[in-house]
Symmetry: C2
Subunit: 413 residues, 2 copies
């Protein structure tokens, strides 16, 4: 018997029929003797509906009030799931974030969880009751309702699993696990049985949107075993999904590369002829950061003739704003010669803890791309990841070539 | 400067535009220097939508979970109104029932308010803030979310006015006050400037659905001045509505009759040939009450030849069930001869505190009906009310004739 936290997203809770299916799935786990805590999101579409309603009332809705309103989406979900569970004969009880309680700071719309009181939940679990908790929400010390930001239900699930020292936290989604890359691009992509947290963090931040990155960080910090599973699989057909572990697997040969991640919506900015003196990077990126523009890859080459070239990438939606800042605010101050940009680029990365002990991954990657005639514009590396920036027209070609080169393709049937 | 509690119903909160109008109305009261506490209902249609959703998930939704779900309707309303008020420059803050907190018993779906903590509200009012409270809801001592039953927002408003010792509780609706009778039946019906609580109770329980009867009882018990006003009147055109007072007006000539109330959905049951012995009324009505069927008028005539006839009225929707109980469960035990019924009746009543000091109201009422050829089937009287049961086809005729006979018609313009 184990204590398991299960999290169901908006799609899994998207209709009365799907909610009844979630109830059946929970009852199968319960029948195996497990204690179950369920975290749910709002029904798909509900949060968007509420946001639109708020904007019809107010051009800039107050954040405290917005949180109070958005929290109702999950409150409806928990009640409906509890009803469905009781209908099939299980004891079940719903809790809002405030009822648990999930204590957060007071940063409305992006609150951080500080503490979770587990006495109510423990009492119900000991009483053979399925406990259903509203994801995405909490209360601050003054009793104000807070929300954790979009996708925060994953974080709620992981935080509850940590507080309850659950055996594992199961994240049910509309995919059946984490893949070596996006199967829409590489049909031969394989589902991974397990992946390390570090790899998952790199995969998630690079655009494999299976899990919210914050929840993965949280799980890593509190050593919570995470498992990604499909909520759409029929009874008897369930697979074990992908387990995200906090330890490298030492019992079997680790693949060198676990997956090929990519990100489409990138843009590149280059400041050329920058005087090569201390503090220049801060002078360029300080104002960009203050404007809340996230910068990803940053590259500065060794200078010659007293100047250097400085490049960085931003999300494509921030490209125009960042370029304007460089032109109008930054260039006049530092005396750079030219500002160039390209908003038709993408980023492709090979991720794997195995590369720590296997040299030669980078050169294999570059050779593979060269053989396909793909020009590399930027390179960035970390301990377990090598990323390249290439023209966006090469995205699919690069991903497929690397997937094959690193032996990630499924064996032909 | 006074402390005023205002309650806005679902129609007043029915759209973003209407919510902005409510905000403007509040700002006009605020500009007069008053402290304002606002109680709101869910947007019209929202509670029905949620109930339907619950029934799609579960044939018999659990009551605790239903309350947790329904409470979200008001939670959305309070947040939207707070946003709208802030947009026009007022300080405003929303509170759920749990946040106030409004402490209730644990009777889910029909909870009773036990106590209201006023410290949060007082603090905000002292800080020049408009306080917005979710109607219809509270929490029990264990922190479970409860609701007060349909129309409970009126009760929330009155309870808050009582707890805060407010100057008055203003109930905003889609009518501009309490009328001498339904203007759809008698176009010459007049709006009353004031009415006593006792009269309002009789009017409300007889089908004048302006206020929820429980809120009127509550107001009477705690001596809260209630005022019914229209939320649809434009700025500069507002009228003072109808004030419901807890004292009879002694400064001016009191009308004998304040209004003609009526109720359509009535049904009558008669048990004939009942043995005239003690305990027979309980034997007949005990099982009916246990089946949760509300009985209204009860009449037992003096018996002759050792038997008596026993009649009572129920809501028409309960007629078939009550009749079946009489036939199958009650008749065999008491040896009554026949069970008769009529589900095509209605009740018409003259209401007025003035009849206490003016004899002759009953005979005037009976004469008026006789002159119209209307046969009276049952009569029931209280200190301030005379009710008759007549064939439902006479409803409009009886109401119009009585309205005219008791001088309630508007003077012709």
């Amino acid at each position: 018997m184990a204590l398991i936290v299960q999290k169901y997203g908006g799609t899994s809770m998207g209709s009365p029929e799907r909610i009844r299916n979630v109830a059946k799935r929970i009852s199968r786990w319960k029948a195996q003797g497990h204690q179950i805590v369920v975290v749910v999101s709002a029904m798909s579409g509900e949060t968007n509906r509420l946001v639109a309603l708020a904007h019809e009332v107010s051009p800039q809705p107050d954040l405290r009030e917005m949180d109070a309103m958005l929290a109702t989406g999950e409150q409806v979900s928990i009640a409906l799931l509890a009803m469905a569970l009781r209908d099939i004969g299980l004891k079940a009880k719903s809790y809002t974030g405030g009822q648990v309680k999930v204590l957060t700071d007071s940063a409305f719309s992006k609150a951080r969880i500080l503490e979770i009181e587990d006495s109510n939940i423990r009492h119900d679990l000991d009483n053979d009751t399925v406990v259903i908790v509203a994801g995405f929400q909490g209360v601050d010390a003054d009793g104000n309702i807070t929300t954790l930001g979009r996708g925060g239900s994953d974080t709620s699930g992981v935080a509850l699993a940590a507080a309850l020292q659950a055996e594992e936290c199961q994240i049910y989604t509309d995919v059946d696990g984490v893949y070596t890359t996006d199967p829409r691009i590489v049909p031969a992509a394989r589902k991974l049985d397990q992946i390390t947290f570090e790899e998952m963090l790199e995969m998630a931040s690079l655009g494999s949107k299976v899990l919210q990155i914050r929840s993965v960080e949280f799980a890593g910090k509190y050593k919570v075993k995470l498992r990604v599973l499909s909520s759409l699989e029929e009874e008897g057909q369930e697979t074990a999904g992908t387990l995200i572990t906090f330890e490298e697997n030492t019992t079997m040969e680790q693949p060198i590369i676990s997956g090929i991640a990519f990100s489409r919506d990138e843009a590149k900015l280059t400041v050329s002829g920058v005087p090569d003196r201390p503090g220049i990077a801060y002078q360029i990126l300080g104002p960009i950061a203050e404007a809340n523009i996230d910068v990803d890859i940053i590259i500065q080459n060794v200078g010659h003739d007293g100047t250097t070239d400085f490049s960085f990438t931003v999300n494509r939606s921030e490209y125009a704003r960042a370029k304007k800042m460089l032109e109008n605010q930054i260039k006049p101050h530092i005396g750079a010669l030219t500002i160039d940009g390209d908003n038709k680029i993408c980023k492709v990365s090979a991720v794997g803890v195995g590369m720590r002990s296997h040299p030669g991954v980078a050169s294999k990657m570059f050779r593979t791309l060269a053989e396909e005639g793909i020009n590399i514009q930027m390179i960035s590396t970390s301990e377990i990841k090598i990323s390249v920036v290439v023209d966006e027209k090469y995205l699919e070609l690069a991903v497929r070539a690397l997937h094959r080169a690193f032996d990630l393709d499924q064996a032909a049937a």
